[in-house]
């Protein structure tokens, strides 16, 4: 075990996987010489050379499209979007080509697309998004979103090895704020949920950075025993883990940093309504970002992103219900 930041764990995952599998390459804008906008691939160019650490043109569709082409002839590309927001430029390749290829013609597309996502630092409308729900809605794409350093490494290695296109959401806010013991060497984390904290009175279902918000908000919430379920994977969605927790606590708060409508949490809420109705002892409550672009100015941004206080308030209401 080594103590690593979330960012270091992501770097470590790619570095180690590239060392042991020459099919793996990283590609993206400014990831080579500069080491990436967030320095995730710092030092990679020196170790692996320019053909495996590829500085690409500023062309998101090009990055994903060519990653697809490289994948179907045997490489395992990890494509970095400089920010999750810019995936809009690569959406067509991702959704139309990569997502449907295996279903259509039995040809899996082994690409991993890393999306530095999330807000909280005045990134504004184009550097703060959580676009995961778009890809949950697109058949054929797996979507994972780690909340811890250990999971970041294990899920990323798992994504690279998965034969299918995987959208890997790495939360920028966690890059250097979250640190933890990370197993050395190569390991994969299953695309399933984990119980971040056990509890009996209520469940908060969430993922990514919001796991930490949920934990903090309910660390000492009037003595209530609050379970926090870290989904880790949005596609596949660990339905059984969600239902098991609902059966136990009968009260659910679903927490998303993404815009509320049709967010991952909406699917979770729908699942519970569908399959855990008779275990519910209260309404399924949601806390998410309202349907606005993420504003720039700190007071505006703080007003829309789910905060510890908002989660506390919602949790209290539900507990008292």
């Amino acid at each position: 075990m080594a103590a690593m930041t979330y960012l270091q764990a992501i770097s470590d995952a790619m570095r180690q996987e590239m060392r042991q599998d020459e099919r793996v390459l990283v590609m993206g804008e400014d990831i080579g010489v500069f080491g990436g906008a967030f320095k995730v691939t710092d030092g990679f160019l020196d170790e692996f050379g320019p053909s495996r650490v590829m500085d690409t043109p500023l062309a998101e569709s090009g990055i994903i499209g060519s990653a697809i082409g490289a994948a179907v002839v045997g490489l395992r590309p990890i494509a970095e979007m400089q920010f999750a927001d810019v995936i809009t430029g690569g959406f067509d390749q991702h959704v139309s080509v990569a997502g449907k290829m295996y279903y259509r013609q039995g040809l899996p597309v082994n690409i991993t697309v890393r999306l530095p996502s999330g807000g909280g630092f005045s990134g504004g409308p184009f550097h703060s998004s959580n676009p995961e729900a778009w890809f949950m809605h697109a058949p054929g794409l797996k979507v994972v979103a780690p909340s811890t350093a250990e999971d970041a490494k294990g899920l990323l290695i798992g994504a690279v090895r998965d034969h299918n296109p995987v959208v890997f959401l790495e939360h920028k806010h966690l890059y250097r704020r979250v640190k933890g013991d990370v197993p050395e060497g190569l390991y994969t984390t299953p695309f399933r949920a984990r119980v971040a904290r056990e509890g009996t009175d209520m469940t908060i279902v969430t993922y990514g950075a919001m796991v930490h918000t949920a934990l903090e908000a309910t660390e000492d919430l009037d003595g209530a025993s609050v379970e926090v379920l870290d989904l880790r994977s949005l596609v596949p969605l660990d339905e059984e883990a969600i239902l098991a927790s609902v059966r136990k606590t009968s009260k659910v708060l679903v927490l998303d940093e993404a815009n509320q409508t049709c967010a991952a949490g909406a699917q979770v809420a729908a699942l519970i309504a569908d399959r855990a109705f008779e275990d519910l002892d209260g309404p399924v409550r949601r806390v998410a970002t309202p349907d606005v672009p993420i504003p720039f100015s700190p007071p505006l941004e703080q007003a829309v992103l789910p905060s510890v206080d908002r989660v506390k308030e919602a949790a209290r209401e539900l507990l008292e219900y």
């Binding site: 003595g223 009968s250 008779e278 275990d279 002892d281 209260g282 008292e320 219900y321």
Partner: protein, 456 residues
């Protein structure tokens, strides 16, 4: 039990004759106050007689116009207890009310008041509730009762009358916890703060002290494993009160048992890890799991599944398991699970729950409490780690389950290596009658129970 007076549009409620030999009855409590709306057959008060404790359903719908007998007063059969004004209308202020603040559309419902037996504040003093804000405990809050899906399901599965449950949720809403508490304890109220998980499993809970009432007309009230705890419970001082019928009965029985039997107590420590897992799996308390192990062990040690009456020692074929159920400060009663050997742990759990519920509802029949061959008592939730229970005569032993406490224990692995581990432990304390068996037999039995509990 009632007579109608059409001229004054009132109906009388009188002390009923509960059995041919009964000549008098005592008012245990009024569920309704003067001015309250009462539905037909809605319980108005609770009475206690020599034979039975029961609730008294209203002979008519209307407003409670008059209460003639105070709580605690014993009156002859046929005595007027109260009057119902049948010309009143729901929502209309009673003649005695002089303001119109009560929300017309929200009369106190029958079920709400009946459920708790509480006496709502006189309506004349009740402020109108704020729109959308239900009073947590008031009858307004429970007037529009809706139940969550899980509560409905649990009620159906366990045949629970939700009206009998006092809700602790917002606006008096019945929550899952309330149903669980009801199932576990049959209590009217669930505590707001949960106890440590390993301790809340006990079906026995202290209740808010209701008015003293007599025990049902049943033989052999159960043992009092922790008499000291009850004696030590602070009693509101200031005036002396006679012991309740039940307390007296328990006391006499216990004293007689101590005089009669040669009491010895043996204790064995038991690791509850496996029972905890099993408990979580089947969704019960640990009690039915241990009970099932006890039943199995009794089949192996039949001299403990026995009666000693004078010089006659009878070993029973079937295990009729007495389970002590606390009735709060009133005392306790020991309903019997008949032919417990035929039930699984889940089945035992259901049966115990059902008996406990009926005990709480004062709805046990004499047959329910008769013929036990072995008794389990389980006051572990209070945190005591050991006790010396008193045998319920004419049985020869009683097993006491105490608190499950996490302890550091030495465990030995398959290779014989010792290690210290944290395990949920409990003490199995059994009092037995040295007239019937010896200490080695008792120890072997308890060890057999332990072995089973640790490997469920």
């Amino acid at each position: 039990m009632s007579s109608s007076n059409t001229e004054t549009a009132t109906v009388d409620i009188v002390m009923p004759q509960m059995g041919v030999s009964v000549s008098e009855g005592t008012i245990v409590g009024w569920r309704k106050q003067v001015g309250d709306w009462v539905e037909y057959e809605e319980p108005v008060c609770d009475i206690s007689t020599d034979k039975i404790d029961t609730e008294l359903p209203s002979p008519a719908a209307g407003r409670l116009a008059e209460i003639a007998v105070d709580v605690g007063t014993t009156v002859e059969v046929g005595t007027l207890l109260a009057r119902i004004a049948t010309d009143a209308r729901p929502g209309e202020p009673h003649a005695s009310e002089h303001d119109g603040e009560r929300e017309p559309s929200a009369p106190p419902t029958s079920e709400a008041a009946a459920a708790t037996g509480e006496t709502p504040a006189p309506s004349t003093d009740a402020p109108a509730p704020e729109p959308g804000v239900a009073a947590p405990d008031g009858d307004e809050g429970r007037a529009r009762r809706r139940y969550s899906p899980v509560v409905m399901r649990m009620a159906a599965e366990h045949d629970v009358d939700l009206a009998q449950i006092r809700g602790t949720g917002r606006g008096g809403r019945v929550r899952k916890q309330d149903v669980l508490a009801h199932l576990e304890h049959g209590a009217a109220a669930a505590p707001a703060a949960p106890d440590p998980p390993l301790h809340i499993e006990s079906p026995y809970r202290p209740e808010p002290a209701p008015a003293p009432r007599a025990a049902p007309d049943a033989p052999a009230p159960g043992p009092a494993p922790q008499p000291e705890a009850r004696v030590a419970t602070p009693v509101p001082t200031g005036h002396g009160e006679p012991l309740s019928r039940m307390r007296k009965s328990i006391g006499e029985h216990m004293k007689r048992s101590l005089e009669l039997a040669a009491h010895c107590t043996t204790m064995v420590e038991c690791d509850m890890s496996a029972a905890e897992r099993r408990r979580a799996l089947i969704g019960t308390t640990a009690l039915p799991i241990v009970a099932r192990c006890v039943v199995d062990a009794l089949r192996e040690f039949p001299a403990l599944n026995a009666w000693l009456e004078g010089d006659t020692f009878t070993q029973h074929d079937g295990v009729h398991l007495g389970i002590a159920v606390s009735l709060g400060e009133d005392g306790l009663i020991v309903p019997v699970v008949r032919d417990a050997q035929d039930l699984s742990d889940e089945g035992l759990g259901r049966r115990i729950r059902e008996l406990a519920q009926r005990a709480r509802g004062r709805a046990l029949t004499p047959d329910d409490v008769r013929g036990g061959t072995f008794t389990i008592t389980n006051p572990g939730q209070f945190g005591a780690v050991a006790a010396t229970p008193i045998i319920s005569q004419p049985q020869v032993a009683i097993l006491d389950l105490e608190a499950v406490v996490k302890r550091a224990v030495v465990i030995t692995d398959a290779d014989g290596n010792d290690a210290i581990a944290i395990r949920p432990m409990t003490m199995l304390c059994m009092s037995w009658d040295h007239r019937a068996i010896d200490g080695a037999y008792a120890a072997r039995f308890l060890t057999a129970v332990r072995r089973r509990v640790e490997s469920v």
